[in-house]
């Protein structure tokens, strides 16, 4: 294993085969992670942590030389998950724009919800890139929290910091995102206000 971090870096630079290699490595565990998540009720937070742990242990046992520590693995898995979901959201949005009549096809009602989430996620991702730019720690915290489903305690562990610091970083990231979204929403509403 040439190092999953390297593959991740390659794929971030647009190397599709690197992405494939990552997925191949994380595939089974990510599927289970997602399968577990989707079984949950909407009001319940998914217990993905256990799976992520297990996933790490498995990779570790297989001599995954690229993974240096559990914390490192959390970071890798969260990044991979983020990228996977963003890629998928892009595909969905593009396909939807492409249109197509699917009368009588067995379509999931979930499709509508997924399309909606795709649009929202892409927007959130844009905001993340601009609002959190330059602060790698904030980006990591959001990834671990949102894309890997880790708790504050586990994030603290992953970063080797106190739980309070982890909570503070998460709060800071969220405030920045909220502020950025509010700015954007205000700009969106400008034309309407002018018309009044």
């Amino acid at each position: 294993m040439s190092g999953i971090t390297g593959l991740l870096a390659q794929s971030q630079q647009g190397d599709a085969s690197a992405w494939g290699a990552i997925i191949e490595r994380l595939y089974g565990d990510m599927r289970r992670l997602a399968h577990n998540a989707r079984k949950l009720n909407i009001n319940e937070a998914p217990d993905t942590t256990a799976l992520v742990h297990e996933c790490y242990l498995r990779m570790h046992q297989h001599g995954a030389s690229g993974i240096q520590s559990r914390a490192h693995f959390f970071n890798v898995a969260a990044s991979a998950m983020r990228q996977l979901l963003i890629n998928h959201a892009r595909d969905r949005v593009a396909r939807k724009r492409g249109g197509g009549n699917v009368e009588y096809a067995t379509l999931s009602e979930c499709d509508n919800a997924a399309d909606q989430q795709a649009t929202d996620l892409l927007e959130l991702d844009d905001i993340m890139r601009s609002a959190l730019a330059g602060d790698e720690r904030l980006i990591r915290v959001v990834e671990l929290k949102v894309f890997a489903g880790l708790t504050d305690t586990e994030i603290a562990e992953a970063f080797d910091m106190s739980v309070r610091t982890a909570q503070r970083l998460w709060q800071e990231a969220r405030d920045k995102l909220r502020a950025a979204l509010t700015d954007q929403a205000d700009t969106d509403q400008e034309p309407a206000r002018l018309r009044q």
Binding site: A34, A105, I127, L177, T182
Partner: protein, 775 residues
């Protein structure tokens, strides 16, 4: 809006538990497509004939030279990597393979490719979807309803096999060339329903619970059938066309927003469609007097025209209608009727030929099916705890009959709280569930559990309904029977004697059962004449109800034979003859492995051994063991019991080393964790003592009897009992032979005070005879 939604994605679990993540994971499993001439199993792909969210359908030919056959091959995304789901799939497919109905496209074959793609080979139907078929041929209403009834019958059949289609829509119902409507995509839908609840359904054909993501059950299929009826009846008509009032009512009832407002079963829906065609009142319209009058007149025009509405006719018509109204089921009984319907299909369709008298390898499948169905009961009747309770009880009954005691206990532990919370404690169903649970505990070697269950239940019923509750007779009968199962036959006789005056006047199955069991307890404590009288009375009742040469009457013959054997002489010969008859009858009706045949064989083996005819007993003992071995594990308590008798017969035949080996094997089984009762422990060491005496190993005999005594204390506690006396007698002989004459005499004196009656303990006459020499 979008800001709020974006921020919501930051909430814990919002993204990972959401639809996008779900869909992303699904796309990780792309469906590999097949090309013409690709081989799947023995099938050669010809062309694609359709695709949907669930996979691609190809026309394919069987290409193994066996015979020519075109099939529809459904190729699914690869998503069955883990073995647990693979197992679900395998079992489902097995059930589906047995799902043969003229209205269901037959599943022919199935498997998975090396890369994990699942495939099904289905009967290929060349025809149009139901709605298009009706539109293209401009079928009249009646013919459309007949086609729809074929569809409803197919769905009813599948429900009777606990399978929910969950994707009934026009494209999944094709009309074959012979005019038969065929329901497709069964395997896929069933597979889907178990693996992934949120999987596809079709716009406009999704039930409210499917849309909300709630668990789906029979009622979801009913909803889809309602939509099918509407779509099919209106297909090809002008936009403004409306359904007749009755049909509109049927559709409305099937498509009611709340599952409990819909038809309880596909059978009810079928019945309403039939009524509509027969101009009978449809249930969906409710109890409307004028509506029924109108239909009555339409159905019997003669009653109106011939007598020109004479007063007499009018009274007849109205009278009939009033009578009909009174027999209509009240709304409050709705759930009960569901339970009845569900139970009927379970008993009639799902568990055919599962007579509890039948135990054998051929029933393995049924018990597997029943076991596999258990989790489904919880899921599919989640909204109907009472129905779930009843269904669990039925399955428990079947599983109990098939000796799957752990699973039966599991089902009952579910049924009991379900029934308690719905029909209450003081209900026959709840009481039945407790009683069967008590039996199950007995069969798994936990006799105390039964008592812990039944005694508090009795108090609860007394608190609720008083001492005169008819339910108490059931519980009391079971407590008495339980005493017998705990080998406390005096208590058993006591309890039955108290119960008997309450039911003596009755001539029903229950009473006959009580008399039979009472007779068993009386036989065991040597009151054989009384036992015989009660058994004959029980037989008489059974014959009155069921006739001669029936399962029920034969069962009573068995109880008659038991005291006859003990009465000796001519009566004993009559008893053996009756047992032989019972054996022949049950063998020819249920096979040699049936419950009753087994009992008769085992009784003959026991009896002959005890009567000092071990040589004659041996063939029966061996037969009994070989039958039990077919359905029971080697270390099952009943196997241990059979081996104990075998050891005793060997001892009495003088084959001492063989007997020794037999007992060793029992001891090894117990040491290795075989479930066993104190009675088995006691019998083992008591029998071992007998063997050691025969081997003239008196010190060892003493040790064996002393161990037996420890176990006897658990079995008999402080009570006097022949069984306890026998151990003391054996010990006395062992001591005497070692020269401990005084101690031996003490033991004998003690034994004399413990004996139940004047006669020597049954089966141990020879031992008693030997002890006499000490005095």
């Amino acid at each position: 809006m979008s800001k709020v939604r974006c921020l919501a994605l930051l909430e814990p679990g919002a993204l990972l538990g959401g639809a996008l993540c779900h869909s992303a994971m699904n796309t990780l499993e792309p469906t590999k497509e097949l090309a013409p001439n690709d081989m799947v199993g023995v099938y050669r792909i010809r062309e694609e004939i359709g695709r949907g969210g669930m996979g691609i359908v190809y026309r394919a030919d069987r290409a193994d030279g066996e015979f020519e056959q075109s099939i529809a091959l459904k190729w699914l995304p690869a998503n069955l990597f883990d073995s647990a789901r693979h197992e679900i799939f395998r079992r489902e497919r097995q059930i589906l393979a047995g799902l043969r109905h003229i209205g269901i496209a037959q599943l022919l074959d199935g498997g998975h490719s090396d890369d994990g793609h699942l495939w099904f080979a289905m009967e290929l139907i060349d025809g149009l979807p139901l709605d298009q078929h009706c539109a293209v041929n401009q079928l009249p209403e009646r013919e459309r309803i007949e086609l729809l009834m074929q569809l409803v019958a197919a769905v009813r059949f599948s429900h009777s096999h606990l399978l929910i289609h969950s994707d009934i829509k026009p494209r999944n119902v094709l009309v074959a060339a012979d005019g038969q409507a065929k329901l497709l995509d069964f395997g896929v839908a069933v597979l889907a329903s178990d693996i992934n609840k949120a999987v596809g359904y079709s716009p406009g054909f999704a039930s409210p619970e499917q849309i909300s993501g709630a668990p789906i059950g029979v009622s979801s299929d009913i909803w889809q059938l309602g939509r099918m009826i509407e779509t099919t009846l209106l297909a090809g008509r002008e936009q403004s066309a409306a359904l007749p009032q009755d049909l509109a009512a049927i559709v409305a009832c099937a498509c009611a927003p709340q599952p409990e407002q819909r038809y309880a079963s596909a059978g009810e829906l079928f019945e309403d469609l039939r009524c509509y065609l027969a101009y009978e009142p449809v249930r969906a319209r409710g109890n409307n007097f004028y509506y029924k009058l109108l239909l009555f007149i339409r159905r019997h025009p003669w009653s109106v025209s011939a007598s020109a509405l004479s007063a007499l006719t009018f009274i007849l018509v109205v009278g009939t209608l009033l009578w009909r109204l009174t027999v209509q089921r009240a709304a409050a009984e709705r759930e009960r009727s569901i339970a009845v319907a569900v139970n009927r299909f379970l008993v009639d369709d799902f568990l055919p030929a599962t007579d509890p008298n039948l135990v054998g390898s051929s029933d393995q499948k049924v018990s597997e099916l029943a076991e596999a169905a258990l989790p489904k009961i919880q899921e599919r009747f989640a909204e109907l705890p009472r129905v779930a309770g009843e269904v669990n009880l039925i399955f428990a009954n079947t599983l109990y009959g098939l000796s799957r005691f752990d699973k039966a206990a599991l089902a009952l532990d579910r049924a009991i709280p379900q029934l308690r919370s719905t029909v209450g404690v003081a209900d026959k169903l709840t009481v039945d569930a407790h009683i069967l649970r008590a039996y199950t505990a007995q069969s798994t070697g936990d006799p105390d559990y039964a008592e812990k269950l039944l005694v508090p239940l009795r108090s609860e019923i007394v608190a609720l309904e008083g001492e005169n509750s008819p339910l108490l007779t059931m519980v009391d009968a079971r407590i008495a029977a339980n005493a017998a199962l705990r080998n406390n036959y005096y208590l058993c006789v006591d309890l039955y004697s108290k119960l008997l005056p309450r039911i003596e006047h009755r001539e029903d199955d229950f009473t006959a059962g009580v008399l039979g069991k009472f007779s068993e307890c009386l036989t065991t404590i040597d009151r054989s004449e009384e036992a015989l009288a009660f058994a004959r009375r029980a037989h008489e009742i059974k014959v009155k109800i069921h006739g001669t040469n029936t399962t029920e009457s034969m069962r009573m013959q068995y109880w008659i034979a038991r005291p006859l054997l003990d009465l000796g002489g001519e009566k004993e010969r009559e008893g053996v003859k009756i047992l032989q008859e019972v054996l022949d009858w049950s063998t020819s009706h249920y096979g040699p492995e049936s419950f009753m045949a087994r009992n008769a064989i085992s009784l003959l083996g026991n009896h002959l051994t005890c009567r000092g005819r071990p040589g004659e007993a041996m063939p029966w003992i061996l037969r009994n063991k070989s039958i039990r071995a077919k359905s029971l594990a080697g270390d099952h308590p009943w196997m241990l019991t059979a081996n104990l008798v075998h050891g005793q017969a060997l001892t009495r035949l003088g084959k001492l080393s063989e007997a020794d080996e037999m007992y060793s094997s029992i001891r090894t089984a117990i040491e290795n964790g075989a479930s066993h009762t104190a009675v088995i422990d006691l019998s083992l060491y008591r029998n071992l003592g007998e063997l050691r005496l025969a081997q003239e190993r008196y010190a060892d005999a003493e040790a064996a009897y002393r161990t037996a005594l420890e176990h006897a204390k658990i079995v008999f506690r402080e009570n006097k009992h022949d069984g306890l006396a026998v151990v003391h007698i054996g010990l006395a002989i062992a001591l005497f032979e070692q020269g401990n004459v005084d101690q031996a005499r003490q033991e004998l004196d003690l034994a004399a005070t413990l004996m139940d009656g004047e006669r020597p303990p049954k089966c141990w006459e020879a031992l008693v005879e030997r002890a006499r020499r000490i005095q």
